[in-house]
Subunit: 324 residues, 2 copies
Amino acid sequence: MNTFKDLQNLIETEISKILPETTPPGLYEPIRYTLNLGGKRVRPILCLAACNLFQDDISKAIPAALALEVFHNFTLLHDDVMDNSPVRRGQATVHKKWNVNTAILSGDTMFVKSCDLMLLTPESKLKDALKIFNKTALEVCEGQQYDMDFEDQETVELTEYLQMIKLKTSVLVAASLKIGAIIGGADKKQADDLYNFGIALGMAFQLQDDFLDTFGSKAEFGKRIGGDIVENKKTFLLLTALQKADSETKSEIKEMISTEKLQDEEKIARMTAIFENLEIRESTVGEISKYHNEALLILKTLEIDENKKQLLYDFSNLLQTRNN
Amino acid sequence: MNTFKDLQNLIETEISKILPETTPPGLYEPIRYTLNLGGKRVRPILCLAACNLFQDDISKAIPAALALEVFHNFTLLHDDVMDNSPVRRGQATVHKKWNVNTAILSGDTMFVKSCDLMLLTPESKLKDALKIFNKTALEVCEGQQYDMDFEDQETVELTEYLQMIKLKTSVLVAASLKIGAIIGGADKKQADDLYNFGIALGMAFQLQDDFLDTFGSKAEFGKRIGGDIVENKKTFLLLTALQKADSETKSEIKEMISTEKLQDEEKIARMTAIFENLEIRESTVGEISKYHNEALLILKTLEIDENKKQLLYDFSNLLQTRNN
């Protein structure tokens, strides 16, 4: 059985091998830069951990695990262009360090590379793995489209928001587990259970992101607190606040969003105060716990030796208590 | 045996079925728009024609044929963003009609869709087909990178240019034939021969594009004559001219490229005159013929009933004599 740290180290070693010096450098340098920015490697670790539930030798799942990480980084690269984000993981984004064209084309190339890594999956599992991979990739694109659509929509329902983050984040976490499980030899029911575990985990993970952006501590979060508030992002916090607020508070929120009268710091302070009054902190923690518990329950009922599940239990708890 | 027109009609019918009304519309409308812009459907036709060399029933190659067309259109969509091209096939490009973000994300989605179509290839041929597909996709990205790099380079060798158009255009034409052949049941030698036929055909096709941009007739070409000259594009014509010119003419060309003194029409007229003096028209026609003859020779030596090859002969001739 591997520990979390074992898998993380394995992923880092393997990622560094994906792209040797290749030409043209204008295409491959930004890819190496992106893959070396680090990150939590959540998806490949979950893929390997899921494989490990069914098999001691996880080597057959390594290419798929890498594919999922490269695919994830490709989506970040293109999302950063679309959102015009200057910073990713404390470093300049590719379209800022190079330019938009480089970000588009290097992103495309990473997508191809991820497909090519998937192809190293053992042939008996290949078609099943690719079906999930492609379906998920399509859903992630749809999730990003909804996310962009929501920016221009005046109102977004909370259920629409949850569906969007499911598509944008959870399905890839879930697919990582399912693909790893299939490669490890899981039966259909086990693979589906792990997928559902991943959906719940992914939802908790994304809502935690929303939470930390407002209620996190700057030193630990690693980026500015309140960024979502400044950008009027329709997060779980804001949408829940709009749902809970009386008409007077609702008007106050809407005015803050539609005008640009307030300085950033004042806006963050006032919106956070409204959130606290409406007990949005508690609502969000409650929602995260709901998904987290759902994930744990699925994991518990999975008919596999409990000892083998330890890594996934630990990982779930780590994700829920994370502060960055 | 199918005729060229049969295959074209088949492709048009099948393409219209790929994308039913799907949500979110912001993602799928631009894709339908792109796929409905038409085009020659060179790649899917060649894929089906290659399959047809080995099998009467070409239905098993239809998903791959569509995948190749969707992939090709994805690359056009992203290339148009990178080149900031306002018009494609006489219509507004996606990033002009919608916006850059839409073009990026709809392009990504088309790429996923093409992978998903490939997955409908019969399982016994799937891995081989995907290997070629992924390798080709990577090469097409590399070709686009070289193309962008060349814009900023002061000098480009003719051999570098030919390598770039091979990556950007020929490999996908070649892969279309090879994938169709494999699905049809070709052996390795036959599949490789058809690949090489496609490389030569693709080179002739792309050089014909360069030729028509300067020496075509506007009415037939469908876009402005001399666009490449105005944009100082390092085409086969310009690079050959720089190679053939004496030092005085070379200086004249370089001055025309580096300054913006001339009005477009005057620049086109003067550069075309230089090309005519240097017999670039003849050089280009000669180069196209060279590749065309190479293609025909490969086709001729392919050990298949000559009658079955007729469509590919016709298609090669059609491509060489095309004026748009």
